[in-house]
Symmetry: C2
Subunit: 320 residues, 2 copies
Amino acid sequence: MPKGGTVAELGEFGLIRAVTENRRQPPTTLLGPGDDAAVVEAADGRVVASTDVLVEGVHFRLDWSTPEQVGRKAVAVNLADIAAMGAFPTSVLVGLACPAETDAGLVKRITEGMWAEASGAGAGLVGGDVVQADQLVLSITALGDLRGRPPVTRSGARPGDIVAVHGRLGWAAAGLAVLHRGFRSPVTVANAQRYPEPDYAAGPAAAVAGATAMIDVSDGLLADLGHIAEQSEVGIDVRTDLLEVSRRLVDVGTALGADPLHWVLTGGEDHALAAAFPPFADLPEGWRRIGAVTMPDSGLTVDGKPYAGETGWEHWRRPQ
Amino acid sequence: MPKGGTVAELGEFGLIRAVTENRRQPPTTLLGPGDDAAVVEAADGRVVASTDVLVEGVHFRLDWSTPEQVGRKAVAVNLADIAAMGAFPTSVLVGLACPAETDAGLVKRITEGMWAEASGAGAGLVGGDVVQADQLVLSITALGDLRGRPPVTRSGARPGDIVAVHGRLGWAAAGLAVLHRGFRSPVTVANAQRYPEPDYAAGPAAAVAGATAMIDVSDGLLADLGHIAEQSEVGIDVRTDLLEVSRRLVDVGTALGADPLHWVLTGGEDHALAAAFPPFADLPEGWRRIGAVTMPDSGLTVDGKPYAGETGWEHWRRPQ
């Protein structure tokens, strides 16, 4: 029996109180938790909205990650979607399902992580629901504000555009490989799997710089560039000599007998951003050119050739 | 093996396509499913947002309800929260977790019901996520627009206000009793448990009429009026002679040896609306006076006396 009691003992209302009391909401939260619904500022007359569901044993493991890291990850993957539209996060709603005998302290620690990630991005945790289920499931909805700019969709890339990325690639996949072998180090690599650290400001910065298409790299670089290529009806060529393969990934690849470039090209869950920019755009800080948008009939290529391996992760088809 | 294939066979992207293709979005959907996030109009510069999670075996049973009814219910309970703020629903986001071997046809039928309910309320299904889990879990987020009016919260009721309700009370509880005994009739009573039929327009109509506080009756009339009493720091007295106890509920009560008034006072899941109005307000169509707001020290009473039984349903403390 957990010392702080179970979720069932604390009860729905007790738990919601514990999670939401004494929290500082950002100014965009016009009405926070505790009513039938929250009210959030949407100053520009539109709201950007995205939902992701994370399931214990599928998207996270509590023997690999702390509850706080799980909470951070659940919020980060959603806020990254908001940033990928060129928008600023404003708020987060949390649906949490768990067994009745779950330690209430565990749930509180998960929500600590959620609050930390949301606050860091300028967003408030404005509402939610806590219900009983056989398994721990976290369902997050993030809202954001475009501040007067059009959204950057996946469909606007044009042949001749620069393809660029912001953030690390392949680290979460390397971390997964490390953790799967039962290792806990290198810690920076393992942590990359435990929770992503997106730079949310990089999305709006790309929008300001004129990005024609953008995507959150969640399934893997090639898979996600494939989404842009398909929805923009263009080809995309990635140049491996422009990809950063960190010394750390090379070391881990050597130790585990894996190809670090494959992680960079196909590893998901880093939540970097990938975007297309007009040919002569000045890339904003932190964005690195990695390729070019090509003609539609060229398809998705790496150094001019189709990629031989699996291009990424599709949820229902993953090997494990 | 289901004829139409399993969710795993169809794959994440195939399933999302099947669910979202060829759907008519309302004009408020500026960017629908298929990108990192949706963009929804929030014309008045604010957005109302609410999340509810429904778990198979806890909130619905597929041996009691059709998949379409489950989808309708999941959306309806969320849209009712939007209406209870006095807002108009604009959009719905869906998180769906289910086992890999789930019949893809079942998921499509659930989303048919979601679309039907959302469309009927003027809202679009604008985004979502489909992931693997041990159990079917539906997580819905609904967004709405206040159209320039302040939200009607739970905290504005004042002593002397009229207390009124809109919609049926006790029917879902009676339906639960019927279904638990293994009966399937009366169908209207059983269906009240399978899916609520909120009149979403009744919420904004109450706001226009000056409602001082409002709540979606999801936990039970007394429990939810208790939330208004607590958050408004008032007492509330319900007059049983003003409550409608339908002949149908009396018949079912007689057959099952249960008190139909108890269902009306404490049954959840009908998603009626309860509200306080100023003393001389003209109640909008369909709203019925059932009591009055009293002084804070009076507490929550029925015919002037504290209610003897359980006042409603708290998720983690339900008996079953």
